[in-house]
């Protein structure tokens, strides 16, 4: 039994590529390909095709969630949050395909996604309020809190990574163990449950990323508007 798809190595010519990388490429190719093929037939007025309907529903859903969570104009956050959601969702859902190793079940992928969130929080904050004002939020309310703020940002990144990795890896491992002891029906039920958890994990990862981004941004904004007596 392998703990993570990092340990499965394929040899492509002289290159040695781990299963994580191969299946990440597969998911990326699938997403980009589906978007390219579908977008060729997009049109602004009805009658619209099925693919356009699916994509419009997805985008509307993500936009609505961003608006609900951050209470900001959702458009700037759409590319980042939507990509995270779609990538994690696709790789979790494809884990029911036999032979597919979900790339999110590797700590490397989960850590990379969490690092992207870690970098996106200051990036969105700085884009909104500027570098100086954003950095000043670290010294609020007193500079004594600086180590705790920094520590909090690091631990929540770690928690994001370990949560995604642990959930995906444990569900695929559970199926592997069940295949050994009760191979008839139970693994199918657990895989069905794994589908639910996969969707939930993609949703939770995205919502938590948005919560972190929104908290970073609105802290900075609150500080700048306090002088005018306005608290947003």
């Amino acid at each position: 039994m392998t703990l993570s798809p990092d340990e499965i190595i394929y040899a492509i010519g002289p290159l040695q590529v781990s299963a994580t990388l191969v299946f990440t490429w597969l998911v990326m190719a699938l997403l980009v390909g589906a978007a390219l093929i579908a977008s060729r037939r997009f049109r602004p007025e009805p009658p619209i095709g099925r693919a356009q309907l699916v994509f419009e529903a997805l985008v509307t859903f993500v936009l609505g969630q961003i608006r609900d969570v951050t209470r900001h104009e959702p458009r700037p956050y759409l590319p980042f949050a939507g990509t995270l959601f779609l990538f994690i969702l696709t790789s979790n859902l494809l884990s029911v395909v036999p032979g597919f190793q979900p790339p999110t079940g590797s700590l490397s992928t989960a850590a990379a996604l969490a690092l992207a969130v870690f970098l996106a929080v200051p990036a969105f904050g700085i884009a909104k309020v500027g570098l100086r004002r954003y950095l000043r939020t670290y010294l609020e309310p007193t500079p004594l809190m600086l180590p705790f703020t920094v520590l909090g940002e690091i631990t929540r990144t770690l928690a994001l990574a370990v949560r995604l990795f642990g959930n995906v890896m444990s569900s695929s491992m559970l199926v592997a163990i069940l295949l050994l002891i009760a191979p008839l029906i139970f693994p199918v039920l657990m895989q069905a449950l794994g589908l639910l958890f996969g969707v939930l994990q993609a949703y939770i990862f995205t919502v938590l990323a948005l919560v972190y981004i929104a908290s970073g941004t609105s802290e900075a904004e609150k500080r700048t508007t306090r002088g005018t007596g306005e608290i947003s």
Binding site: R163, L208, V211
Partner: protein
Amino acid sequence: MTDMSIIAVASVIGAALTVAIGAGLAALAEGRAVAQALQSIAQQPDETNSISRTMFVGLAMIETSGIYCFVIALILIFANPFWSAVT
């Protein structure tokens, strides 16, 4: 007992206790959170969307501690750092 068997026994018992206590307490906490959220939804059905979204985020937070315990149990069983001391 040899050093090796002591380490093996301690690792297996440690892993079992880690998962048992970690999963049990996380489950208790999640049960409390869900019960409270359901009560809130019963009182204010209009706020169902917002309450359930917040509940899911909170559940994910709680579940993280359970997942930590699971990862530590896996490390104890599959990637025990103390094996290198005796082998």
